[in-house]
Assembly symmetry: D3
Homo-oligomer: 248 residues x 6
Amino acid sequence: MTDSSTSSSAHQRQGRAFDALRPVRITRHYTAYAEGSVLVEFGQTRVLCTASVEEKVPPHKRGSGQGWVTAEYGMLPRATHTRGDREAARGKQSGRTQEIQRLIGRSLRAVFDLGALGERTIHLDCDVIQADGGTRTASITGAYVAAHDAVSWLLAQQRVAASPILGTVAAISVGIVDGVPLLDLDYGEDSACDTDMNVVMTGAGHFVEVQGTAEGAAFSRAEMDRLLQLAEKGIGELIALQQKSLSK
Amino acid sequence: MTDSSTSSSAHQRQGRAFDALRPVRITRHYTAYAEGSVLVEFGQTRVLCTASVEEKVPPHKRGSGQGWVTAEYGMLPRATHTRGDREAARGKQSGRTQEIQRLIGRSLRAVFDLGALGERTIHLDCDVIQADGGTRTASITGAYVAAHDAVSWLLAQQRVAASPILGTVAAISVGIVDGVPLLDLDYGEDSACDTDMNVVMTGAGHFVEVQGTAEGAAFSRAEMDRLLQLAEKGIGELIALQQKSLSK
Amino acid sequence: MTDSSTSSSAHQRQGRAFDALRPVRITRHYTAYAEGSVLVEFGQTRVLCTASVEEKVPPHKRGSGQGWVTAEYGMLPRATHTRGDREAARGKQSGRTQEIQRLIGRSLRAVFDLGALGERTIHLDCDVIQADGGTRTASITGAYVAAHDAVSWLLAQQRVAASPILGTVAAISVGIVDGVPLLDLDYGEDSACDTDMNVVMTGAGHFVEVQGTAEGAAFSRAEMDRLLQLAEKGIGELIALQQKSLSK
Amino acid sequence: MTDSSTSSSAHQRQGRAFDALRPVRITRHYTAYAEGSVLVEFGQTRVLCTASVEEKVPPHKRGSGQGWVTAEYGMLPRATHTRGDREAARGKQSGRTQEIQRLIGRSLRAVFDLGALGERTIHLDCDVIQADGGTRTASITGAYVAAHDAVSWLLAQQRVAASPILGTVAAISVGIVDGVPLLDLDYGEDSACDTDMNVVMTGAGHFVEVQGTAEGAAFSRAEMDRLLQLAEKGIGELIALQQKSLSK
Amino acid sequence: MTDSSTSSSAHQRQGRAFDALRPVRITRHYTAYAEGSVLVEFGQTRVLCTASVEEKVPPHKRGSGQGWVTAEYGMLPRATHTRGDREAARGKQSGRTQEIQRLIGRSLRAVFDLGALGERTIHLDCDVIQADGGTRTASITGAYVAAHDAVSWLLAQQRVAASPILGTVAAISVGIVDGVPLLDLDYGEDSACDTDMNVVMTGAGHFVEVQGTAEGAAFSRAEMDRLLQLAEKGIGELIALQQKSLSK
Amino acid sequence: MTDSSTSSSAHQRQGRAFDALRPVRITRHYTAYAEGSVLVEFGQTRVLCTASVEEKVPPHKRGSGQGWVTAEYGMLPRATHTRGDREAARGKQSGRTQEIQRLIGRSLRAVFDLGALGERTIHLDCDVIQADGGTRTASITGAYVAAHDAVSWLLAQQRVAASPILGTVAAISVGIVDGVPLLDLDYGEDSACDTDMNVVMTGAGHFVEVQGTAEGAAFSRAEMDRLLQLAEKGIGELIALQQKSLSK
């Protein structure tokens, strides 16, 4: 059942500043069997990210001496306000799902030395338990931590001599709602925004992906600049949270 | 990675008696949007069961004045020791998945008065977060609680005048391992057992489903009787736990 | 066109006793090319069961030294009173079809020594020409005879040194209609029954599968006992018919 | 298992003249529920053709006042010497299957007045029980008889005032093997032939379909003329057999 | 949008004689990357035919020393008067598409010595840019020229010692409209015709395929003879045009 | 066959300046039946863009009074250096294809007043005849012109009172190759680049989409600024070319 009471975006922020993240929680070892298993929460959004090591690579990497890092994304049917179709029952993944899982995979590969990984694959599965906006950026942020745990496992098992991870990576959404640039949109804000931008950055402050879309009015260069600044601030905070979580 | 250290079934029971359930936890309101949302845990097995109300029915019930109760089942790719294929990516549900979701649906319909429900559907989604044996029986046990919460929501909304639920229902697995009948098999026991039986019963002590399979040697009538007794005991305890959870 | 004249179950039994099988006919060598080819008839139900030998095994058995026995099930579109969709045209097998073919495969494997079979597969195809209830149990009963003929062919060809068949297997449905336990339900009885149970047993009198479902009211332990007794009687008779057919 | 002993085409004819049909048998009322149900046999080729009446039409005929006649074709997995994949399990019909069922549908529609049929559909299901060449032409020949029985049923039920059947239709294959034009090829001849032609004709001696294919060497106009003459002879005989069968 | 102004077939012929082809243009090297790339136009019908060489063969030819020639056919969604579904989006090729691509493949293989080609595949892709009738016959006619260019490339690369092409092949449609036999039907004529025949012939004047279909009334032997004569005339002209194009 | 001679990016530019477009050609009325039909060429890249008007809308717009603009994208199998699989034959569109067609659709909707369009759909089909980099940006640029022609047709037919087009839209790719920012990458440059960015802008100089991806090293804010400047320059030129083409 969709909650029909629509609240103003001001209300939804519930006092949160325009440049503030929602409360972010990163829980490692959330499930028992995966080499890496992280529950990441951005406010009401909850995504389970697991990293699984497989000792083989897809055909295009066979014999190359290089490994592969890939991602799959899914949403439980009732993660959302209204129940959505189960993709397994419908028999195919939506274009949106494929777009997101390709994005997660590219983002993680950006911080991996595939040669140092060796001919094995790390599968990142990002499954949305509850969706309140920003599921793809939460997925990337959590998948990094899960991948890091899987690499620690590989090191502990002495399957790799040195970590193939070259740096950190995290992601956040930003957008313009009623003319106001906002960091970390929840579902209500995302539905109301004119411009929606997903930004993926490294710990070194460089861009891995920038995907900006004018949902309503096209956006100016000045607006873009302000959104990128907000994203840079948010990603800095996320990377600190990732490091803190991994240091435990 | 499959854990290659195989332990004896004695070890896996870890002191648990042959007729003891694993620790069972039922957590209601596990997610925020569904009309019913229950995390059910049987030891290491964890299943999220949501109940979603939809104000329409499938074609075979249209115009009948009756409602419908149906279930879907899925397993997250890394719920298991070794990562399994994502069914949405493969483009179809396995025979096993379909068999299980049909079983869950039939079991829940056994305690519903579809006429009293009215022309609406309750969708039960059972998604396995972690699998250590008994996922289908945990799903039925949890789905009952989620369905009950959805019915409470319907009553609170005054969409139904009286509850269409006719009784309680729960399920458990039993089996014979190394000649010993055991209640509530975990994954290791399930893999080693000669006979595996899933039993679904009502609170009134009647059978809704009995599915016994000889994985190894065929089983005698006497063995079957002992298994049914064990199941009856376990289901009695599960129904008490459901009631306790719902009374909170 | 569904025949709209509904007859009472008493009429449909046409004098048949509550514990009597319908007339059962087993015709070997029904088609010319398969290693085993059996038309099995339980009253108006007619199923063609063929056994095909293939000199390779599925991936999970390769290099194991063991063989495999597997089954597929189908229903001709107009085997039934009303024409059903052709599964090949619809592009997928129903959950019911998959459930049945998995049951047939498990039942037959219960009487096979896969090691003695060697690395080859016996495919059992059960295609329903006409359906009047009990198609899955007729399939198992007929598939056993077809598999036996295929094994005789393997012996004659000296591909196996000794028969990998460990015993006989047959199956029957039982159910409770209007409070009366009945053996071998036809379609009208099956549609009207409260409880429906499919039982698979060996010639030694042990259970391979028991699948009981409460279609209407849940069933008591006492009812279950009476149904199992009926099934035991019927399966004994079926096994005698299989032996007689194979002795010709 | 394919029979590896290859026999010369002379041997395979087993004394049959170059312009002789194999023994043709047409058995009406082969199954009990369909409005028309015919087992047609051309030598070892056996096809079950059922005609099912449905009181609605596909979208392109809705509201037109016209009916529709359509066909589906399938082959049981072990109808052939070597077991073929089950199309329902593979999830799609082959190009060959679709080509054949389109041909059967067009051929039958050629003798139907769709306006006189009224807004209903006759589904013709042609399922090959055993395949020894000529399955598509046997299907057309048998489907005509099944369709005729379904029309008789419609007349008896007073759903149509007059028969919508405008004439008879039958089909046969012809081909050139080792330079010799032959009527009604069996599987061995079909595999060995240079030219293969399927011909569908009406009782009035006109062509509905001619599909000639050079499997080996291209064929001359003179060869084509001889093949058409053979087909004309064979179809004349088939139409007489159809009439004889329908007169019983 | 379908042009609703229907013109008489006389008008559509626009002065073209009953036995005249539409203006035919064959443009080689239409795209840059394929080994053969031909735009073929029959009046308003335009098909792009590419030939691609691949240094491997499908499973049924592996290790045989023989090559393979195969075709795929597609129609751009708006090649036609009214937009059709995109087959890639719908997830399957229609029966018509499969029938056509099988026809193109067989026709081209009729003039290839697969042994002389060696273990490699020539893929012929026929994509209809604009459809005004006769797309399958234009495809065959153009694919021959593209295949010839691919063979010239193989010869120039010294991958084959001698051309595996045994002769020329071309195709045309003929039909009877309002009782008049016509050569090379455009879309309007094709929609109005009683009989439609596609004929594929070699340069030596022999038939590779003859596919005649009575869309309305069945056709007589005399009518068939007149259609074959027309086809023979048209194909002779097409083969001359192919040769002229290849001689440039 | 992929051309194995790799040329330096300097050579591939063939004297083209870092901030120069390839020769762009826009050919209107390329095919005859679509309401808009445009062949757009960016150097060797050629895409056929058709716009088809359909007098109905998808379910989510029914009864809304609003229209819809949507796009589909495809690539002919041999548009590329090496033949790719045909998506219709494989039975599904790749993630890349879906991502591109969603981008084209969003970009065009950004300049449409869906209310002024009325309850009808404009389908934009972008089919790549030859691919040498930049196919998605060429598609958007060409689709705008095709959509404009379709709107002119609607105006001429008096189906809409005023144009629903709010402004112009075009797209270009930019990237960094060997440290040098380049406008309008061809295939060789695209394969070699570290950063690849697709930019969609309106004639008013605002952004509709910005999609930047680090293929190799992550990119700095300064690099992003230089790429956006290049894109702005290129899109200004493309919009002038669109206007010039439409003014003919």
